[in-house]
Symmetry: D2
Subunit: 439 residues, 4 copies
Amino acid sequence: MAEIFKEIPEIKYEGSVGTNPLSFKYYDANKLVSGKTMKEHLRVAMAWWHNLCADGKDMFGEGTANKSFGAEPGTMAHAHRKVDAAFEFMSKLGIELYCFHDLDLVPEADDIKEMNKRLDEVSDHILEKSKETGIKLLWGTANLTRNPRYMNGAGSSNSPEVFCFAAAQVKKGLELTVKLGGTGYTFWGGREGYDLLLNTNVKLELDNIAALMRMAVDYGRSIGFNGDFYIEPKPKEPTKHQYDFDAATAAGFIKEYGLEKDFKLNIEANHATLAGHTFQHDLRIAAINGFFGSVDANQGDSLLGWDTDEFPFNVYETTLCMYEVLKAGGFTNGGLNFDAKNRRASYTYEDMFKGFILGMDSFALGLLKADALIADGRIDDFVKERYAGYDSGIGANIRNRTTSLTELAEIAEKLGAPKLPSSGNQEGLESIMNQVLFG
Amino acid sequence: MAEIFKEIPEIKYEGSVGTNPLSFKYYDANKLVSGKTMKEHLRVAMAWWHNLCADGKDMFGEGTANKSFGAEPGTMAHAHRKVDAAFEFMSKLGIELYCFHDLDLVPEADDIKEMNKRLDEVSDHILEKSKETGIKLLWGTANLTRNPRYMNGAGSSNSPEVFCFAAAQVKKGLELTVKLGGTGYTFWGGREGYDLLLNTNVKLELDNIAALMRMAVDYGRSIGFNGDFYIEPKPKEPTKHQYDFDAATAAGFIKEYGLEKDFKLNIEANHATLAGHTFQHDLRIAAINGFFGSVDANQGDSLLGWDTDEFPFNVYETTLCMYEVLKAGGFTNGGLNFDAKNRRASYTYEDMFKGFILGMDSFALGLLKADALIADGRIDDFVKERYAGYDSGIGANIRNRTTSLTELAEIAEKLGAPKLPSSGNQEGLESIMNQVLFG
Amino acid sequence: MAEIFKEIPEIKYEGSVGTNPLSFKYYDANKLVSGKTMKEHLRVAMAWWHNLCADGKDMFGEGTANKSFGAEPGTMAHAHRKVDAAFEFMSKLGIELYCFHDLDLVPEADDIKEMNKRLDEVSDHILEKSKETGIKLLWGTANLTRNPRYMNGAGSSNSPEVFCFAAAQVKKGLELTVKLGGTGYTFWGGREGYDLLLNTNVKLELDNIAALMRMAVDYGRSIGFNGDFYIEPKPKEPTKHQYDFDAATAAGFIKEYGLEKDFKLNIEANHATLAGHTFQHDLRIAAINGFFGSVDANQGDSLLGWDTDEFPFNVYETTLCMYEVLKAGGFTNGGLNFDAKNRRASYTYEDMFKGFILGMDSFALGLLKADALIADGRIDDFVKERYAGYDSGIGANIRNRTTSLTELAEIAEKLGAPKLPSSGNQEGLESIMNQVLFG
Amino acid sequence: MAEIFKEIPEIKYEGSVGTNPLSFKYYDANKLVSGKTMKEHLRVAMAWWHNLCADGKDMFGEGTANKSFGAEPGTMAHAHRKVDAAFEFMSKLGIELYCFHDLDLVPEADDIKEMNKRLDEVSDHILEKSKETGIKLLWGTANLTRNPRYMNGAGSSNSPEVFCFAAAQVKKGLELTVKLGGTGYTFWGGREGYDLLLNTNVKLELDNIAALMRMAVDYGRSIGFNGDFYIEPKPKEPTKHQYDFDAATAAGFIKEYGLEKDFKLNIEANHATLAGHTFQHDLRIAAINGFFGSVDANQGDSLLGWDTDEFPFNVYETTLCMYEVLKAGGFTNGGLNFDAKNRRASYTYEDMFKGFILGMDSFALGLLKADALIADGRIDDFVKERYAGYDSGIGANIRNRTTSLTELAEIAEKLGAPKLPSSGNQEGLESIMNQVLFG
């Protein structure tokens, strides 16, 4: 089959000196970083939807990019052509993982049987390419937001018929995930929320979402899915409020409904910032709850109130992300899914590659800098020292829960006024960070 | 003792026709609304801090209001004078409840023993006034934010000595709450959070906060406190991130640490909006988690990014608040604490009263309108009908968890394309709301 | 031709008592309010784009509403059918004005000649309907955002060819406006801005936008257009930054480029709030600059960071809008264009009508309440008194610019410490507002 | 006089390798960068208020830092001690400029005569130190926000008496500026705005502010002040709305009132972001209006809604700032005033130095990277090429205003559909930026 990105060569690591825009300047796949290759650390994945489907359409304008890849959009021929494009694209960039929704793969059919037939056909094609190239699925999912029937949500829909349709899609999504060797299955509840609280039964909706997840676990395990289920939090957009608001809320939900054995979180940078948190914050919250799973690697614009899904370029953020990833022990089933899209005015094939080069280089820098930050040790030492008071004495009793208000108040009485805690040294630590980043 | 607000008469309900600014236009304490008086429904409380202590000081300027009440600020004489002012103020407005932090009552002493002595003296005075007037404590708390020692938090401080001091204050706070007949004790974690994630051990800090709460419950119950403990969520300010971000996060925390038997939530309007939620949303989340407790009644400015603590005047918001309160069964131990302050340029004694008149009238309107909305029935009927599909058939099976993906997918296959859910009717419901509000 | 909204009767004013959702409860077209009818005050207009074109599509899903009106979308037959729908819709609601972009009227053609031919044909149809019904154009405009060629703006495009195409559309837009009796022509610069400042020549772009406007004025006046040109400010979305950020910025631009004889502002509620202002604020700024022109009547959600274009229901906001409109002398060429759309889950014909009923009732209430607020007089009197110091003495000298720092400093020296200004009485004024609103 | 920061040595440039926190890693004062020393490029200034007065007090807590410098706060002895501290501090850091408000220098007196006497005394002391050290004033200003009398603003106060007092302070501020060799005088309108639009006469207030500025120019020029006047925009905080919202608004104001010969802008990073702009944006807007003046160098937190005034550490932002500064020709009368304060938990003398080290190192990096970005040339070349269409042909006619809608529409007719503009290459440019930053 014909090469699609004909003008684009294989993208190679050429170091940070040259000016070839179609080369990696920092992403050096096989470079060893603390015992693993960069590739193993980052586990980069391509998102089928943005890269092969999104054409720059926004609420105020038509698409700017041509993603027909030589076939008629909306046909099965086009679906197959996207498979070719995907594997050529990933191969040229050295990407070994991808993610998809069912609706990214094939044109939608009203009838679930017809839909599943199309999915079978295209996933056969993908499987074949996967065998040729070794490229595998990171995680799969079902698109439960696009079709009008999901206007009030899927698991949270007020219509049981719609719920059934969602269940059917999730079932097929799990089957495809197993078929394609995926290690994860994601729930992003884009319409699991409300626009008007006055017409919404929140409790019933939450219960039903959990029921759908529970059934998905039961079915997934029954067909041999051994990977992780993920909830991907997002606070709002498209709805006024989405139930999986942020990592803390989703963690509470997982525990409330007894899903903690099977579920982890997929943290997206831009979703965290829309919720008023840093990306690092939501990663930390996931980790301390035992739910660190996977990452949607992109970047938002903190002056804008919607999901911009930009390719990440801010190395502060990629460094702090990788710092949390390394501290959490690195990825196992998860990875860095570039849920990112070119800006609307960057509409060429070359731009598609430049987007991933930017993102992968930025995360390569992030990995190197995070590793250096940990190796440097000054920040970790500071933190250890900062809480040393809880390692022994009354501090340890507080930690061990072997004291009481009465005992502590007696100590306070003896202290008179306690000393101020030692300085937080924020400016000093930020200087260390810059020193590590800028060398 | 001398009258303080000499120019201000008792504030009476005069109906909505006149122009006397020192009268209630809607708050009619003994008016019956669905079987309870307005006073019983609303359970209005005065916040000692804003009303008797805050003088309009902000980050860019000195106080504008004189709250010496004829005594030298910073003295015990002043502390007593504030008690006189408080009871005169509440009596003139017909307010029967109040809230305080320890530091609102007396000038701070470095030594906890001296501090407690001062608190004993002033609380004796309060108790005496309380017996005279029948005015009681709604809830008490300890101020664990103001003193520099709490720069890194109280329960979350990196210093065990500071933790001890916090414990001593909480212990005394509980004792005062019991002494003054309070039915609640509140934890607002104003500095339980971080400014820099890099220097913070989040997990340890959360564990320690929970330890402090656990000890507070144990001690409180041991001295006869039968009321509710509250967490008051706030997402940020003063710190970059506070752990009790919002109702959902605090609910998750309460359950994670097994505090659900003793803790409920105190929802503040302006804190909810700072977290990106409506006031109504956080009330609903509290309620469906079984944690509906008490309310800090104020109003923020959604175009401003800090806690403005305005007296509530938006009747949409007071109506939706009271709608949730009524749906949750009304207040038991909780109430409406006016955690609100005059605008800085409203600095006279008259303004103090006008602030409460505005707030109480706005909530009186809110109660009447919420009651009318429920009596009207159109909205509730709409919601009931909207989810009726889950009352029987496959919908009920989903609710009862007696089905599976396989069964649901089979139904979906038979459906072909499901019907769209019925219209959400948002504009229609908003018209009903306006009709109920504007008659 | 066949009736389209068959199930929907003419919408009549039935007063605020009944429960017929398809009636006006407050909008009583011919009711006199301070000497003009409600209809004359409000000058309600329908936006062709939202009402006849938008189908609920958003960034995460397909359209939910069927707006084919029995014809094939994308054909001229459909274009004509939309004209029928528009006039039936407006007639049933008693709306006498409408607004459009060129691309709302006809399917787009790549060739401007073909495009103009289509516009001629459909505008003939509109003109005929207009003669039958008396319904007229409020303002016209050209859509310079949707076509991919405008990805970098129209007047601000880096491509002179694209600029030419924009000029051709504006020319035709002016001709259509004159043909259909429009009294306004609007520039909304949806892509006149940037996504990345580093690749943008801001000065050149601003100059070019002004050049386009200048040419539009010259051409418009040459073909007999006597109405107002409007800039409609919006701060962002779709771009990161739009040059017409808010009323103040647009007013500065108009003056900088000498366009003040011909240009006024079209203020949109939701655009003002996205810029961090209240709707009232941007109306006031327009008025004091002499640029009060027209209004896009809708409502945003201040907790969301994008343009939600909701039908207005908040009567505080409609009242404060009409307060500014009345103070500015009322509309002349301008009006209230309902640039609003149904929520995505309100997708039926009935919902289309309910949206306008909500909006028109809310503005009817706003007009009545604003008129009552002015009639009440307490707020205006307070403001007059508040600034009375500038009516005479040194205050007047400051106003007249007949004093100097030296003279004023001498006065200050004599004053010792000046008295505090009198209280701003914010809470008192807010109580008056509620009293006027809730009666 | 006794050394104050005894433990702190002179801070020297030691390169980026070592771990001495009390050294510069990037700020190398005399290093040549494109023909000027780093020191000459950056013109670093110390803000008297944050560095010598602010003690960490916030709305929720008392100060944490001791800034008595061995004297009793509130006394003239303390005022003198702050002068000693200031010059020792600046000398140790190699800072050669400072900024102040009148109230930063001396304890406030109610009487302007007494106040001025104190200012004379302390400014004599400063002048003496200045002669010893060569350290000079960058700009002076009067604090017209702190005293309760300015609750409704200074120039915008509703009280002419308050206006007089403001005028007296401005007069003295100008005299001190001249006395101390300042090259700038700044107006920051912290309370020139409103909290409630309903009680505000915006037009009168704007006129009066302009009158005060006009008088200030007249007086300043009469006493030999040859420097620049600055408006420092800020959108909100402390008030709900401040008139000098952002650079565009302030530029419009300057032109509206004919102040453009004397006024420029002082752009503060954190104020720009509070207005919804990037720092770079407001610098660009200042520059293209001819108002590029001076910079308040700090950093906000884009997830927080208030002015955090952090020491800048984000090298992306410092680079883009210096890029605009270099493009605007560099500072003449202006400089980089570090209007920044330590985080509240960084309360030691060492932290004071670490704050400036962080800030100066971050701007040194910014300067080096901005210079490298310009030397690299790829971005500038891209921009030049991007707009090349306007250098000749019809593009040039548009620029020269020698064409018309009619001519342009004829061209459009011939074009058929215009070509898309070339790609914006955003991801490619961001990769170049990272390459320049991270080498």
